[in-house]
Amino acid sequence: MKSISLSNLPELLSAIAAKEALYLPVDTKEGAEYKAYAEGDSLSLACNTNRSAKDFFFPQVEDMAAFKVEGKKIEIIDVRKETEDFVIFGARACDVKSFEVLDRVFLADPVDTFYKNRREHSTVVALACSAPEETCFCSSFGIDAAEPQGDVSAWIAEGRMFFKPNTQKGETLLSALSALLEESDGAAVEKAKEETRTIMGQLPLQNLPTEHFKPEKLMEHFNDPKWKELSQACIGCGTCTFVCPTCQCFDIRDFDTGNGIQRYRCWDSCMYSDFTQMAADQPRHTQLERFRQRFMHKLVYYPANNEGLFGCVGCGRCLAKCPISMNIAKVMKALGGDK
C-alpha cells in the first residue's frame, strides 16, 4: 500500500494538477463544494459536499447541438468535444457508488456519448469516511463507507493518507506519483476502517428497511395509502433531485441566441408540475403522484430494471436540504418499516 504524510498532501495535489485537471472538495463558507484545484487549496475533510459529484459526468447544463436556421433550411452542428483527462480527488463511497447507478442509465444502449466521454477521461480517487454524520445511511444499501470503490481507494489514518489502486487508471495515476509516495503496510488503515465501521454502527439510520422494496411488490407499494400523508407537505421544488447524486432525469430545451439555436440538456425534476405536462393533459396531476414517482423510482422501479440495485446511495443530502424535511429515510420507514 502506498502512502503519504498529510503534511505533504499539498505537494501531491500540485503534482496531480500539473499533470491533468484536478477537482476536489474544499471548504467554503457554506460548506464543502467540489472545485477545480488552485494552488493552495486544501482538501476538505467534511463528510460530504453540498452538491453531489454527479456534476462531473452529468452537468446541470450542457450543450448538445447547435442549429443554424435559414429560411426553410436547417443545419445541424455537432458541438461535442473530447473531454480532457481529469481526476476527482476525495469522493466519498456513496458518491462513487452513485456513478455505478448513473452508468446503468447513461451507458445502457444507446450509449450517451456526452456522459461516456467524461466517464472515460476521469480517474476517481475515493476517500474512506472517517466522520460520518447522522444523515448518512449508505450502509442501508450495502455500501461500506470504510471501503470506497473507485479507481483508487484512499484512507486517512495516523497522520497519513494511504492509497490502493483498483483499476488500470488508478495504477497509472499512482505510478505517476510514485516519487512522492512511500510504501507502507496497511495496519493503520485496518484500524481506521474498524473505527469508521464502529461509528457507522451508532448512526440512527444505519438499518433502514430495504427488503420490502421488491419488484413483485410494485403495485402494493404504488397503491399504498401512506403516500397521501407523506406527500402532503411537499412544496414541489427540485431540491432533493438536484442535490441527489443519482437523480438523472433531464430536459432537452432550445435556446434562441439571436444568431442560431442552441439545444441544451439540463437537469429536470420529477417533482416539478411541468415534468410530464403535455399539450392537453398530464398523467401526474397532483404532488402526490410526482412525489410517489421519485421514491418509487429509487426504491422499486430502478431496482426492478437493474438486478436489485437501489437508486439511492444513502448520502443524506436530501435529508439535510429538503425545505420541509421529508425524505427517503422517512418514506422507507413508513412504507417498509415497522412491519
Binding site: F67, K72, I74, I76, P110, T113, I252, Y301
Partner: protein
Amino acid sequence: MEKEALIPEIGIVTDIRIDTPDVRTFRVVTPDGKKPFVHIPGQCAMLSIPGVGEALFSITSSPTNTEFMEFSIKKCGCVTSFLHSIEPGQYVTIRGPYGNGFPVESAFKGKDMLFVAGGIGLAPLRSVINYCRHYRENYGKIDIVYGSRSMQDLVDYNEIVEEWCKEDGISVHLTIDREQPEWDGHVGFVPNFVKELQFDTNKTAVLCGPPIMIKFTLAGLQEMGFKKDQIYTTLEMRMKCGIGKCGRCNLGDKFICKDGPVFRFDQLEELPDEY
C-alpha cells in the same frame, strides 16, 4: 466521435396533406430523397423544429413504403402548431425509430385482426393496417372500426374509402359522433358501435384513441368475451429523449418510449395506471 442518439438528422418535408381541419399528414425524406430509417409498425420518431421544440410522433406510414415516411399530426401544442404552419420544402430534424412497435411478425401473424380507432388514434394504426394489407397472406380477416367527431374529422378518409373499403377480406366500419346531412353511415360513439357490431372473440384487437374511448371499448370487448391478452393499445406521454433516459414516460418500471408504446392490456394491468 461516435454517433449520439440524441443528436438528430435532417429531414425534409416534401408534401403536406390536409386531412381534417386540425390534422395534417407530413411526408418526410432525408436530404438525398430517401426514407430516413427503417422501422416497424407502431414505432415512433422524434421530430423537431430547432427553437420550437422536439416531440415524439408515431410513424403513420407502413414500413412497406420504402420511399418516404409519413406522420399524421394533430394541432394541439407548440411543435404541432408550428408544423401546421409550414410549407413543403421545410427542413425538420428527425431521429428514431423509438419503441417496440406492434408484434406484426409474431403475435399478430395468422390472426384475424380488429382495429379500433378514434380520431387521430388512426395515425399509429394506419401503419400496421397497411402493413397487414401488404402481407395479406400472413393475416386473417381484418375489421376496422373507425370513428371521429364528424365526417370532416375522419383522417385519411380518401385512402379508407378508395383502398381499404374496396379490398377483399377487409371490412371497414365508420362512425361519426353526431348526425350530419351528407353522412349516410353509422352515427354514434365508437365503444357502442363496437358492441353493436359483435365481433368474434378469436380476433386480436388493437385500440388507439382518446383515453375515454379506450376505456369503454376495452370494457365492451371484455363483455363480448375478449380476454385482456388479446387486446393491444399504444400509449403516449411527454418524452424528451425517446431512449429511456430522461426519466419521465415511465409506467412503473417500464418506459413507454423504450418498452412501449405498444402494450397488451394484461401487461398494463400489472402497471400503475399513470397514463
